[in-house]
């Protein structure tokens, strides 16, 4: 608190007289704190006196229970200004090396069209919008999402698609459980083709284990042993092969199982689409539709399926309805599948998805149209065919005759493979090494003739002359098998055929964003997802090439900037939460929550307590809690809340005793979803621990805790953070999010691992496709912490609590606050009771909210 006070004071002093200025006042390292918080010193004084408090300290002392207050301030580097923070981060970014990437494996170079980069990805009208719960302020975004769904349906030739998934790997895992729910085959066996991306397989293994699904690997189209409920194929395969599996698919489906295909959307402009090959579910990534690789994310994945599966499909769907005037209007559809309604019976725990990247991908399709996309794909396929011809002439023929963009060459020995990879790196390019002796090469939209020649050079022996371009590439061709060439049309809707001039595109993007409400025009006062300023300085670094244009599986020595960012941010977040270890891999809050529960289960299993399977959840909990518990293989037991909205301790005690032998954990949200600091939280944690259970503290409300109290200190064992709530990553209109999972000391060895950083150990496996999840947005939270420091972060918490209490107090006579602590105070949010108003006037909560 002293920091911000000094900052304000210092500014005024500096303006009034130069003789009294100090160096600190002139250099003003706390410049950003006042810009972020917004309330002036005068505002604060007025608000404090209105609610009858002498100071922020006395307010906090009266609200946050004394027995959970932090033992010591967070140990963070002191705040620095915006320019200084950008300079420091740029120096860190310079430790990432931007090489041309031919690694592929789900991540490809792409040109983000400038008009989309500047007017969507870097435009607060798009990135600061909240999730589209209020249809009337989200029509623009929802039109873009309908375009996304249409694009996916058209390219995959499937009847229905959702409005994005977190990444291809989690989409494939969700497809697995969708198939499990939807087919009648009683088996628990799930086959994965050996051409499936390894990071996808890793996430599938993590997800399958708690659900009792047995994952088996199959080698191409062969007779499968035993009954299985579904099979996952990759199209084209990991090695680039384009296989015609139609007959095999038909015979597999004849036995009642479902066929899932993970497909490359750009390849589908040229390839026979999965829907025409018999696929039941199709998943994939839209990354190469204009979203930079960003060391693994954020990118929008997709999931499309047969119409019969639609009520079981995960994620959000946008549908076209009519408004009160009978005109077409967009809204979220089929929401009864979702966790806020179905709780532990929900089809998935996914809520935040990848709306901003999905909007970018859909606009990429709008911008290029079907002809433009086809031209890009044909160019890639032609370069690939040319590359293959040249490699063959060098004696390095690829393993397969068929390909779209990827070739695999067996060099014969690990040393030879290493030599090729080293030669490529020397020429500022990365290729993929696999299976010891093989080299994989993937071309993309950014590939050029020079790149093809560079790659020939990497394979050529010292005495070999490189092929002549004109000799191997007289006319552009492709290695796509004739039987698998696409004949059906796609993206025929006018929206994909109308905005191909930049003016047209610019105006279309502007027209849609004008229909939405985002933080650039107004506050969005929504509960636990309290919106924060997404400062421009925080956003700037995410499109720096050093962060945006690197591949997640590039050699570790090229990703040192990210390693430093990961390490520093984790250390700071440990300070903020009081925990001992953190993983930044979960790419949404729901994923962090799921990972946290798996960590608890893994620890208990390793300590002979694997039978513990009961998860206690108060009835007031967010629906994601029970949905995640179900996915982690836990049985949910709901505990009661008292009339004040607090956890009913008597009921909790009873449940703990009843389930003592099998109690795995309790999941609480603190402060509660009703906006109250419950005084008995420390007793609650002790009670659960006394029965051998662990305490999961949902971090949704960390906005009220940072700098004031730390879950890791007052009894929590695991929490997830929502960096998109508490640490300034924008909501993006419904994603991307980042959901780090934070744990106490004895759980650290069980945090998520990743295939790219080695297997083995006690970790729970992969939660996301990429090792750092949505890596490219992590600089936002780093910048926020660096510019705020300990004092600034704590001041932000105090300001939020002050503001909520001021609102509650000012409105009290007409709109009583429903839940408050014994002294009438609330946390950082309050629930206003509009029932009396409705009774007296007929005006409902909805009328007020939507006014």
């Amino acid at each position: 608190m002293a920091f911000a006070g000094q900052a304000c004071f210092a500014r005024k002093t500096a303006m009034r007289t130069s003789t009294a200025a100090t160096w600190s006042a002139l250099e003003n390292p706390q410049e950003f704190i006042a810009r972020h918080i917004g309330l002036s010193q005068e505002d604060e004084a007025h608000m404090l006196s209105t609610i009858g408090e002498a100071s922020r300290e006395s307010l906090i002392a009266g609200i946050v229970p004394a027995n959970i207050r932090r033992s010591a301030p967070m140990d963070l580097p002191p705040a620095i200004g915006e320019a200084a923070a950008l300079t420091e981060l740029r120096a860190m970014a310079a430790h990432n090396r931007v090489l041309k990437s031919f690694i592929g494996q789900g991540y490809y170079g792409t040109h983000t069209p400038g008009v989309i980069l500047r007017n969507i990805l870097e435009n607060p009208a798009w990135y600061t919008a909240y999730t589209p719960y209020q249809a009337e302020i989200s029509q623009g975004r929802m039109e873009a999402l309908v375009n996304f769904q249409t694009m996916v349906c058209d390219l995959t030739a499937m009847p229905i698609a959702n409005a994005s998934m977190l990444d291809e790997a989690t989409a494939a895992a969700e497809a697995m459980t969708l198939a499990r729910r939807s087919v009648k085959v009683a088996s628990n066996i799930f086959y994965v083709d050996d051409q499936v991306l390894p990071q996808t397989l890793a996430v599938i293994r993590t997800r399958a284990q708690p659900l009792g699904i047995e994952v088996r690997i199959c080698e191409g189209p062969q007779a499968l042993e035993g009954e299985s409920f579904a099979v996952l194929l990759q199209y084209p395969g990991l090695d680039g092969v384009v296989r015609d599996d139609r007959q095999w698919i038909a015979s597999y489906k004849g036995k009642g199982g479902a066929v899932i295909m993970a497909a490359d959307l750009l390849a589908l402009t040229l390839l026979k689409p999965p829907g025409e090959m018999g696929a039941d579910i199709v998943v994939g990534s839209t990354q190469r539709f204009g979203m930079p690789m960003g060391a693994g994310g954020p990118h929008a994945a997709f999931l499309a399926c047969r119409d019969e599966f639609k009520r079981s499909m995960p994620g959000r769907l946008v549908g076209v309805s009519v408004d009160v005037h009978g005109k077409p209007a967009y809204r979220l559809a089929l929401q009864t599948r979702e966790q806020h309604i179905r709780r532990e019976k929900a089809t998935s725990n996914i809520c935040t998805a990848q709306v901003l990247p999905a909007v970018v991908a859909s606009m990429y399709a709008v911008y290029h149209g079907p002809q433009g996309l086809t031209r890009i794909a044909q160019r890639i396929a032609a370069y690939t065919a040319t590359l293959a011809a040249g490699l063959s002439s060098l004696g390095c023929a690829p393993l397969y005759d068929s390909a779209f963009d990827t070739l695999t060459v067996d060099t014969g020995s690990p040393a030879a493979a290493r030599a090729v990879a080293d030669k490529a790196v020397a020429a500022e390019a990365n290729v993929r090494m696999l299976r010891g002796t093989c080299i994989g090469i993937s071309l993309d939209e950014t590939s050029t003739r020079e790149d093809v020649q560079l790659l020939w050079g990497a394979f050529a022996k010292a005495d070999q002359t490189l092929p002549q371009w004109d000799a191997v590439a007289q006319t552009p061709g492709s290695l796509i098998p004739a039987a698998l060439r696409r004949a059906s049309s796609f993206l025929t809707h006018p929206v994909f055929n109308s905005y191909h001039s930049e003016t047209g595109m610019l105006r279309y993007i502007r027209r849609l964003s004008d229909k939405d409400l985002a933080l650039d025009r107004s506050m969005i006062p929504l509960g636990s997802c309290t919106m924060k300023l997404n400062a421009t300085s925080e956003m700037i670094p995410i499109t720096w090439p050093e962060f945006a244009q690197v591949h997640p599986f590039a050699p570790a020595d090229q990703l040192q900037g990210y390693a430093m960012l990961d390490e520093q941010l984790r250390a700071w977040l440990c300070q903020a939460t009081g925990y001992a270890g953190i993983s930044l891999q979960p790419n949404a809050g729901s994923q962090g929550e799921y990972a946290g529960l798996l960590v608890i289960r893994a620890y208990q299993a390793a300590h002979g307590q694997g039978h513990r399977n009961i998860c206690l959840i108060p009835s007031s909990a967010h629906g994601t809690n029970p949905a995640s518990a179900q996915m982690a293989g836990l049985d949910v037991v709901v505990t009661a809340c008292d009339s004040h909205g607090n956890v009913d301790m008597d009921d909790l005690r009873k449940r703990c005793e009843q389930h003592s032998a099998n109690l795995a954990c309790v999941m609480i949200t603190y402060p509660s979803t009703h906006g109250v600091f419950e005084t008995q939280v420390k007793d609650l944690c002790a009670l659960v621990h006394s029965h051998g259970g662990r305490v999961y503290v949902d971090g949704a409300n960390m906005n009220a805790l940072v700098g004031v109290a730390a879950p890791g200190e007052f009894g929590g064992d695991v929490s997830h953070l929502n960096l998109h709530k508490t640490f300034c990553i924008p909501h993006g209109g419904g994603g991307p999010g980042v959901g780090p999972v934070c744990v106490v000391e004895d759980l650290v060895p069980y945090l998520p691992g990743h295939i790219s950083t080695g297997v083995g150990g006690t970790h729970i496996g992969s939660i996301s496709a990429a090792p750092l999840g949505n890596a490219a947005v992590l600089p936002i939270s780093w910048m926020y912490c660096r510019m705020m420091g300990e004092g600034g972060l704590r001041h932000a918490t105090e300001a939020a609590i002050l503001a909520a209490n001021y609102i509650s107090h000012r409105l009290h006579d007409h709109y009583p606050t429903l839940y408050a602590s014994a002294n009438g105070r609330v946390a950082h949010e309050c629930i206003l009771d509009l029932r009396p108003l409705k009774e007296s006037s007929g005006v409902s909560a909805e009328d007020v909210a939507k006014r």
Binding site: R311, T336, R337, I341, R342, K345
Partner: protein
Amino acid sequence: MSLLYTADHEWVSNDNGSAVVGITHHAQDALGDVVFVELPEVGKTFAQGEVTGVVESVKAAADVFMPVSGVIMEVNEALRDNPSLANTDPQGEGWFFKVRLSDPGQLTALMDEAAYQAMTA
């Protein structure tokens, strides 16, 4: 033939060892416009209290529980095609399924009209 009721808002009409099952007026009123019903498979056996299917409205989804143990003999295909029958005539045209009872004694534990009315009042 009078109807019997469960605390989960299903009704049962008993007819000599077989029974028709649906959701109550009160249930459909609480749910609002029903847009989808998932009906059980004919021939499948359920114990009392097991989930036989789902009823979804524009604002909620609810499980339909087996009020009495037995085998599904028939389901209301008309309801599948026109779920709003559960709103317009929940205790008539909007029935869900017919059951062959395996333990008719369970019926005695269900509520009669007056008891159900008292519970939902």
